[in-house]
């Protein structure tokens, strides 16, 4: 089952730590959002494989926008 990792708040994508095909474990860093002058790390909600990157570095995202898709 695929799961979208969504933006917890509006911000700019500062860096992406994973690529399509990467295996991730729960709590692994997925990407970093810059918002409210702070860098917020977004973590993987579960174990899986990255099946899609929905954003690129520099993108402005809104709250709940999908960032990365993780599949089994």
């Amino acid at each position: 089952m695929a799961e979208d990792v969504v933006a917890p708040l509006a911000g700019k994508v500062l860096s992406i730590a994973v690529a399509v095909g990467d295996a991730v474990e729960e709590d692994d860093e997925v990407l970093v959002l810059e918002a409210m002058k702070m860098e917020t790390v977004v973590y993987a909600p579960s174990d899986g494989t990255v099946t899609a990157l929905r954003v690129a570095v520099g993108d402005q995202v809104e709250e709940d926008d999908p960032l990365v898709t993780i599949g089994e």
Binding site: A10, A17, K37, M38
Partner: protein, 577 residues
């Protein structure tokens, strides 16, 4: 009270390899700052004459005296780099900190006899007053190693006079004595004038056989006939008088032991004086550990080295404060106060060496949808909102009621701003927190983990809480300033930039000034500057933080001025319901 204190709630989790790898550069940056601070501390220790030269004169250095006096492994230096007047000697010329002597905590302070035979220097009075304040906050003895040649005369205008000048510590000694706190002094060498009062103002005076103390020394006695200037004949007369006086300086042991009896005891050996101090320390009131331990001491459940991978060197990076705390307190256990309210701060009861302490710290990161409840903007940890301020007010009030010492951990960018925040009373609640702290009457310490900014640095148990803050520690990530440098540059130069632009003039000069201000903020807010200027009392390696917590709690519970029996405490019942 077993259900409350012996089995608290476990928290924290082991570091994942990915986190260690990700934080490797940050950890290296933190360790590099620690190495710089350690190098600066070594330079302070090596100030003045080399130890060998002092030993050749038959003296021990102040550091050798401390080593002999203190229980091994218990020294927690404070104000090592403190030098607010930027003295060319690199020191204020006193060495102080918390240490155990014969198993009992004391504030220990000594003149550095390698530097101008322990002279008064600019900044020293404030350093001493911080040590006397610390003894008062913790209700523990103040132990002096006096070896003070008096004022550095060419710079007297910087420290002799004034409200908090070189004479103020003598009044503080009297205050401590009136509060029942003894001031013990080991006295060495020549102590004229100010040195005389440094020697005579403590409670118990233990002197080395070659020590003296006097209202005035040889130099003053010889030169007491001012004529508006000097000529060669007068200087020759002075030389003759000085030689005559050097045979026996005033106020030696024959005078102040045999005649006046001011010296309580006199010892032939330097170490004898220190043995005497140990003997008196054995006689001070101090409760055994069984009195106030709520549980058996435990190490934290996770390695302290993890801190280098948890506390980011990058000031913008979000991290988990709870994981930091889990590396510092007994068993990584806590009783959290109001976990569902005011998510931007942790408040809770923890244990250090089995003794109860209230802990408060800023949480970091996005606070979730709908918070703050009065705003339509996202809340970020590090900032304080209405609920967090209310929660801290409640918590410190209950800590005061239950007589729990408080440890604050700051990493704060300030209190929320804007009209909605004002209507939510954040300004008033910040001052309420100051009021709440002020009525507790319990000792507090502060660790500025990373940012100490804006009024939040004051209200969260900052060093500005003079009557409660025992001491403040910095870390290699500490940054203390009224606001971030870039924010300050905008506030200072935005209008100017607009005017220049409207006038069609080049913006480069404004940009240059803005960047210069940012650089200045950076330079004056970082750990070494904070330590030199007393914004923090010591910059501590992350691996040493728990040792200072142990010293603070151990000293705070050694002879507390008031007690709340554990079974009468309210806070644990409020937490557990």
């Amino acid at each position: 009270m077993k259900p409350y204190f012996e089995t608290m709630d476990r928290f924290g989790k082991s570091l994942k390899p990915g986190r260690v790898k990700r934080a490797a550069a940050g950890a290296e940056a933190l360790r590099a700052v620690e190495a710089d601070i350690a190098a600066a501390a070594r330079a302070v220790e090596e100030a003045g004459f080399p130890a060998e030269k002092i030993n050749q004169r038959g003296w021990m250095t102040v550091y050798q005296r401390l080593e002999y006096l203190l229980d091994p492994g218990t020294w927690r230096p404070l104000r090592t780099l403190y030098n607010p007047a930027e003295n060319e000697e690199g020191v204020t010329n006193v060495v102080d900190g918390l240490g155990k002597i014969e198993g009992r905590w004391a504030v220990v302070i000594g003149f550095d006899n390698k530097v101008m035979a322990g002279a008064w220097l600019p900044g020293q009075s404030e350093n001493i007053l911080r040590a006397t304040d610390l003894a008062r906050r913790l209700n523990v003895p103040l132990v002096w190693l006096v070896h003070c040649s008096g004022a550095k005369l060419p710079e007297q205008e910087q420290f002799y006079a004034n409200r908090r000048g070189a004479g103020t510590p003598f009044f503080r000694h009297a205050e401590l004595e009136q509060a029942g706190i003894p001031v013990l002094a080991g006295i060495y060498g020549t102590n004229p004038a100010g040195g005389g009062y440094q020697s005579v103002s403590p409670t118990i005076l233990l002197a080395h056989k070659d020590a003296n103390m006097a209202v005035g020394g040889v130099g003053i006695v010889s030169g007491m006939a001012p004529k508006g200037g000097f000529d060669a004949a007068m200087v020759e007369e002075l030389i003759a008088k000085t030689r005559a006086f050097t045979a026996r300086p005033p106020g030696d042991v024959a005078t102040h032991h045999d005649a006046t009896g001011f010296f309580t005891r006199v010892y032939d050996e330097e170490t004898g004086v220190l043995d005497g101090l140990k003997e008196y320390m054995r006689a001070i009131p101090a409760y055994g550990p069984e009195f106030f331990r709520a549980a058996e001491p435990k190490d934290p459940a996770f390695p302290v080295d993890d801190l280098y991978h948890l506390l980011p060197a990058n000031q913008k990076e979000v991290y988990d404060f709870d994981e930091v705390l889990a590396r510092l307190v007994d068993g990584s256990e806590r009783l959290e106060f109001r976990p569902d309210y005011g998510p931007e701060v942790f408040t809770g009861v923890c244990k250090v060496d089995g003794r109860l302490v209230g802990c408060i710290g800023n949480r970091q990161g996005y606070l979730g949808k709908g918070y703050p409840d009065y705003g339509d903007y996202p809340g970020m940890g590090g900032k304080l909102y209405r609920q967090g301020l209310v929660k801290m007010n409640e918590f410190v009030t209950l800590c005061g009621r239950d007589r729990l010492p408080v440890v604050w951990f700051q990493d704060t960018s300030g209190i929320d701003v804007g009209e909605r925040a004002e209507k939510a009373e954040v300004l008033g609640l910040g001052q309420s927190l100051i009021y709440s702290i002020q009525q507790t009457g319990v000792p507090m310490m502060l660790v500025v983990l990373r940012k100490g900014t804006a009024a939040a640095h004051y209200v969260m148990g900052g060093p500005t809480a003079n009557r409660h803050n025992a001491f403040t520690l910095g870390t290699p990530a500490t940054e203390i300033e009224v606001m971030h440098g870039e924010t300050a540059a905008v506030a200072t130069y935005a209008r100017r930039a607009a005017k220049e632009h409207a006038a069609g003039r080049p913006l480069d000069p404004v940009i240059e000034r803005m960047n210069a201000l940012v650089d200045r903020y950076h330079e004056t807010s970082r750990p070494a500057y904070c330590a030199r200027h007393g914004f923090v009392d010591e910059v501590v390696a992350l691996t040493d933080l728990r040792r200072y917590l142990q010293a603070f709690t151990g000293a705070a519970y050694q002879n507390p001025v008031s007690i709340c029996p554990r079974h009468h405490m309210l806070l644990p019942r409020v937490i557990r319901g």
